[in-house]
């Protein structure tokens, strides 16, 4: 059976597609090294237009307006530039109210596209641009450790990793967020309250990696000025041991956190990247796989949510669960030694 895959890899080479939501302009070149906050492409995601009533402004009938035009469709104009006129004894003119570009001249009206704040697409990770996607974005290749998460608040940043969680499910306390963490990317475990998030924003942190948090904190997390990612889910779920070990043993290293939302169609997920040079054994991640004996799996739901284990074998036929449902299931030896029967639908591969 097809298995969903989450990548938690100590050392790998991987690529990420970074694509604008609308056609725009790629501002980097192939082969260029980039950092997470570098802008790789930009577009005008929030277009603004002005419909200018030239006929009314000049005091002429619409059908006579075009003869007084002083610019053509496609022309770039600046604020104050004369668009039409002069007309009559009073020498009336119509000036452009803003910088922009003339899109249309028709029926005594002119449509002006106004230059607004561009949307900037950031690299999201440190790496090298290996491919340019015309008008849309880039493909960046990087090497290092990767820990994919399940939820993020949309921000991107990088900094030095500081481990403040003494265990994979430790409650994040405000007191742990002291001034020494200013500018750091903090690895915590479980966040139950709003206070630590507010304290983190006040410090400020450069990023926060959580195992889990209460879902009611999502609106506050979305407002946090730093990237915040959740690796396991909502409620009190310990960080899976593989991710916890990988991250906690890299304290002091530079890490990049891309907290952009999980996009099922493209597969892009919030993630933590620890840039490392490639030497020694490298695992190239596979994006698709099937459940097989010996595979490392993680349970996605209670009662074993977040726990990692080894797949012992897929059970023949259908298994009846405690609640009476019938489903395909597998025997999994969890890291605490317990062998549990878990629905295949509630498992994913860790690679």
């Amino acid at each position: 059976m097809f298995a969903p895959v989450t990548h938690i890899l100590p050392l790998t080479i991987f690529q990420r597609r970074r694509v604008l939501p609308a056609p725009g302009r790629v501002v980097v070149r192939k082969g260029q090294k980039v950092n997470p906050l570098d802008v790789v492409a930009e577009t005008n995601r929030n277009p603004e237009h002005l419909l200018l009533d030239l006929a009314h402004g000049l005091g002429v009938p619409p059908e006579r307006c075009e003869r007084f035009m002083r610019c053509e469709v496609g022309a770039e104009v600046s604020e104050g530039d004369i668009l039409a006129g002069p007309v009559g004894f009073a020498k009336r003119v119509f000036r452009s109210p803003r910088d922009g570009r003339v899109i249309q001249i028709r029926g005594g009206q002119t449509l002006l596209e106004v230059r607004g704040q561009p949307f900037e697409l950031k690299a999201g990770l440190p790496g090298v641009v290996v491919e340019l996607i015309e008008d849309r974005g880039v493909v960046i290749e990087a090497s290092g450790s990767v820990v994919q998460a399940v939820w993020g608040n949309g921000r991107i940043d990088s900094g030095i990793l500081a481990v403040i969680a003494g265990s994979p499910d430790e409650l994040l306390a405000t007191q742990r967020l002291d001034v020494r963490l200013r500018g750091a990317i903090a690895l915590a475990a479980y966040c139950r309250d709003a206070a630590p998030l507010k304290a983190a924003a006040d410090l400020p942190l450069r990023g926060l990696i959580l195992a889990s948090m209460e879902a009611r904190l999502c609106p506050l997390a979305n407002e946090s000025p730093f990237p915040l990612v959740v690796t396991e889910g909502f409620g009190r779920i310990p960080m899976n041991s593989i991710a916890y070990k990988l991250l906690s043993t890299n304290e002091g290293r530079e890490v990049a956190v891309n907290a952009e939302a999980w996009q099922r169609s493209s597969g892009s997920r919030p993630e933590v990247v620890i840039p490392l040079p490639t030497s020694g054994e490298i695992t190239i991640p596979k994006d698709s796989a099937t459940f097989s004996t010996g595979a490392v799996v993680r349970a996605l739901r209670a009662p074993y949510a977040g726990m990692v284990g080894t797949l012992v074998g897929v059970q023949p036929g259908l298994v009846r669960l405690p609640n009476g449902l019938l489903t395909q299931a597998a025997a999994v030896r969890l890291e605490d030694g317990v062998e549990a029967i878990i629905p295949l639908a509630n498992l994913e591969l860790i690679q």
Partner: protein, 584 residues
């Protein structure tokens, strides 16, 4: 090449859902079409596969294994039509609900006329309305344009003016559409479906035709007091298909196997409900409910007229994370028989939306899923009733009018551990009134039958009449007011062999009259205290023929609307009692 479906001895139906891809095989057995077997696999529309073909192939492979019937050739392509050696199938149909809902902008003249109609039109498919423009819109034209540019809708629905009516105002509204098409690059241009004053079609083609993407269908409001959505629904289904074919790799094969007949699952589902409404009691309608991961579909049909609502916001999957923006925590908690804090409920919804394909393991989690199913049915029904007010309200009370039958689909129902649990979910979620038969789509084949019906109606009819569906039972739901424990209904059931059962039903109870599956019986109902059992008004009783369902004949006298105790312990007690009664 596609053989005539009408002559087909075998038919394969494939549905690509947001979580699961299913394949069903129908064959002629003893001279009649029968559902034979099904295969299922996870849908592979998203990364890393980004090709629905993978999931289709595995579903077909499982169907092959289950039936021993070779369906695919050496290149994993469906063999259609069937070969002389029996491999393959004579015909295939395909339906689809996978993919993000279409972003739709609606533009109409009057809010409560054309705009309301095209909003109902948009609600009939997998769509979310992201922008509304009408004459009452106070924004400047450029502000409307910028809103559309920002949202980049996949489809723009435009209506306005009765045939022979307003033209100038519609022209004015359409200016923003022209600018939108001009400004957007080819690949980002929306499909435009014009369903307004037909006199404007020629002018529209001249003005906008050069951009392509222009579609026409008959006016949804040919006259002020007449609404006709069906032709526009077909046109929108065609657009849906086009967009999905462009965006979901692997669908071309499916579409080709079905002879270009790929359909939205909900539309196919609605077709069955509409067909049933022409077969049954014309005084009542037929109701269909399909609870899926991507949406809940509500379909009500009256004598061939379909009212269809597709609600992506009420799916049991990714949209759950926003459920508490549409209802209150207590609306969900009222269905629970376990203690569940608001935090735990929010966490459950958020986790389920992250992993929509996961399933509950414990009794507690099953109870939560049951509560969600009930609340989603309530919300979807309320939305359909609002969209089509006052068609879907029992004498203006806000209660459901009488339907016969009610067809229910969705894994949360068909895979419930017991039929009693499934029935209770439906009774709570839908709260039918009067007399109705509840039918469970055990194998989730309703959309497949709807897709097949277009060219092979005989197959659909014969399978509907077969035992592919589970008759849960005839349910009598009296409506009235009395204190709990008060006798409100006298019942006498006479079976074929003359055995008689008499019962006085008390307010607040569920009772079951045992009647074996398929066995006929005669039911006499005498309501007390002016209760209405749907036989002609308050206090009116009568006699009716019933057929035994899987759970017999059920009387749900818990009241309408259903008011459950606030105390969890009391609620738990009641549900245990009701489950005991229903389980026999």
């Amino acid at each position: 090449m596609r053989s005539s479906q009408a002559e087909a001895g075998s038919l394969l139906a494939i549905d690509v859902g947001s979580v699961n891809t299913r394949a069903w095989l129908f064959e002629v057995v003893d001279g009649r079409y029968r559902f034979v077997a099904s295969g299922q696999a996870p849908t592979t529309a998203d990364a890393p596969y980004n090709n629905v073909g993978e999931g289709v192939r595995i579903a077909l492979d499982r169907l092959q294994t289950a039936t021993g019937h070779l369906l695919m050739d050496a290149n994993d392509r469906l063999i259609v039509p069937s070969r002389p050696d029996g491999a393959g199938v004579d015909a295939a149909v395909a339906t689809l609900s996978a993919g993000a809902p279409l972003n739709v902008a609606v533009i109409g003249l009057l809010d409560d006329v054309s705009l309301a109609s095209i909003q109902r039109l948009a609600s009939g498919t997998y769509a979310q309305v992201v922008e509304r423009i009408s004459l009452s819109d106070r924004r400047k034209p450029e502000a409307r344009l910028d809103a559309l540019l920002r949202l980049r809708p996949n489809v723009v629905l435009v209506a306005g003016g009765t045939d022979g009516g307003a033209t100038q105002s519609v022209h004015k509204l359409l200016e923003v559409v022209g600018l939108l098409l001009m400004l957007l690059p080819e690949g980002d241009r929306p499909e435009i479906l014009y369903v307004g004053n037909q006199a404007l079609q020629g002018g529209l083609k001249d003005a906008l035709g050069r951009y392509g993407h222009l579609h026409f269908a008959p006016n949804v409001r040919p006259q002020l007091d007449v609404e006709q959505l069906e032709p526009a629904q077909m046109a929108l289904a065609h657009i849906f298909r086009q967009i999905r074919l462009r965006r979901l790799p692997g669908l071309l094969d499916l579409d080709s196997w079905s002879g270009g007949g790929l359909k939205p699952s909900a539309l196919a589902y609605g077709r069955v409900i509409r067909f049933l409404s022409t077969m049954y009691d014309s005084a009542k309608g037929v109701l269909g409910v399909d609870i899926g991961a991507s949406s809940t579909v509500m379909a009500a049909a009256f004598s061939g007229e379909l009212l269809l609502g597709v609600y992506p916001e009420y799916g049991l999957g990714p949209s759950l994370v926003t459920l508490l923006e549409r209802c209150q925590v207590k609306d969900l908690q009222r269905w629970l028989t376990i203690e569940l804090s608001e935090d735990d409920l929010r966490n459950y919804l958020a986790n389920k939306s992250l992993y929509p394909g996961t399933i509950p393991v414990s009794m507690e989690e099953l109870a939560i899923e049951g509560a969600l199913a009930r609340q989603l049915m309530q919300l979807a029904l309320r939305k359909l009733a609002t969209d089509y007010y006052p068609r879907l309200t029992h004498k203006g009370t806000g209660l459901l009018p009488g339907f016969e039958p009610i067809v229910a689909s969705g894994s949360v129902l068909s895979q419930a551990p017991s039929l009693a649990g499934c029935l209770l979910m439906l009774l709570d979620g839908l709260q039918p009134t009067g007399v109705t038969t509840l039918v469970l789509d055990t194998h989730q084949i309703t959309p497949a039958l709807g897709a097949a019906a277009q060219t092979n109606p005989v197959l659909s009819i014969q399978v509907l009449e077969s035992n592919a569906f589970t008759n849960l039972g005839t349910v009598i739901s009296p409506v009235g007011e009395a204190r709990p424990g008060t006798p409100i209904l006298r019942v006498r059931m006479t079976q074929e062999g003359g055995q008689e059962i008499r019962l006085d039903v008390k307010q607040g109870t569920i009772e079951v009259l045992p009647l074996p599956v398929g066995q006929p019986g005669r039911l006499q109902l005498r309501p007390l205290h002016r209760y209405d059992v749907g036989l002609g008004g308050a206090g009116r009783g009568g006699s009716l023929r019933v057929v035994g369902g899987a759970l017999g004949v059920i009387i749900d006298a818990r009241g309408r609307p259903l008011r459950l105790p606030v105390e969890i312990a009391r609620r738990r007690e009641l549900y245990k009692r009701w489950m005991r009664v229903l389980s026999g």
